[in-house]
Subunit: 151 residues, 2 copies
């Protein structure tokens, strides 16, 4: 398959995360891309605060925007933060073939879970992604906890 | 804690599933209930067809309706069909304490995954829940496949 520009797509996901941060929300972005064409199928960011909706993490926002699909095997999802169990479960259930993670420092997430399901996972540990969530966690620890599933 | 009436809440979830079926959608319903008060915190049904949104399974619909919460440990989620990996991952991530499942016949789901996470799971295998999904699968096998994550 053609090689996707992982760094460029992660930058796109980061800018979505930054948009979420500037709206007063949780700064996590996601982009779902067609592996063959490089087309962006859906993208978005965490909407916990903006919609009062706890299930719209960055990855879920991208999935929702992409809408109905017969198969997602030949897609890559870019996420600025390593997937929580909801998002990892979603990636597995919907058979997304490849995951690129911007940050496993703020949360290790579920990289191993995804790999045991046969999903290719690339970890970038991008400085911008890591620093944005570090800043957010320091500023709004209660919101970080709520977003990550609550107490 | 007070005993919730599992049969009555499952009936409520079933009626939501039936509503979804009558709208031409996937017939799976969910209800999130406070264990102490018996209050319904959120409820809904699968909205794949109605919203063109693949992530709104029955459980997710109930989670969305309930909105923001500091903790969900002392809640029970009723689902007419055993949770897929997305919904099981969500239940685990958001620390829902108890799950009541209407049907493990049409899909075994992820009962064991939930139990390994320390979540109490009750399986009712309710005749109405099972028969409704069996009818749906026979009528719309492609939609069933799409809803369950695609090919």
């Amino acid at each position: 398959m053609p090689q996707l520009d992982d760094v460029a797509f992660m930058k796109r996901a980061y800018l979505l995360a930054l948009k979420g941060y500037n709206e007063g929300g949780c700064p996590i972005g996601g982009v779902l891309v067609d592996n063959e064409t490089g087309e962006v199928l859906g993208e978005g960011h965490n909407m916990l605060v903006q919609e009062g909706n706890p299930i719209i993490h960055g990855e879920m926002s991208a999935m929702r925007a992409a809408g109905r699909m017969v198969t997602r095997r030949n897609t890559t999802i870019y996420t600025t933060l390593s997937p929580c169990m909801m998002c990892a479960g979603t990636i597995a259930q919907f058979k997304i073939g490849r995951v690129v993670v911007g940050d496993t420092v703020n949360s290790e997430g579920n990289v191993e879970f995804l790999r045991t399901r046969g999903i290719e996972v690339v970890v970038l540990n991008d400085k911008d992604c890591i620093e944005l969530v570090q800043k957010f966690r320091a500023e709004k620890p209660d919101l970080w906890l709520e977003d990550w599933g609550g107490a």
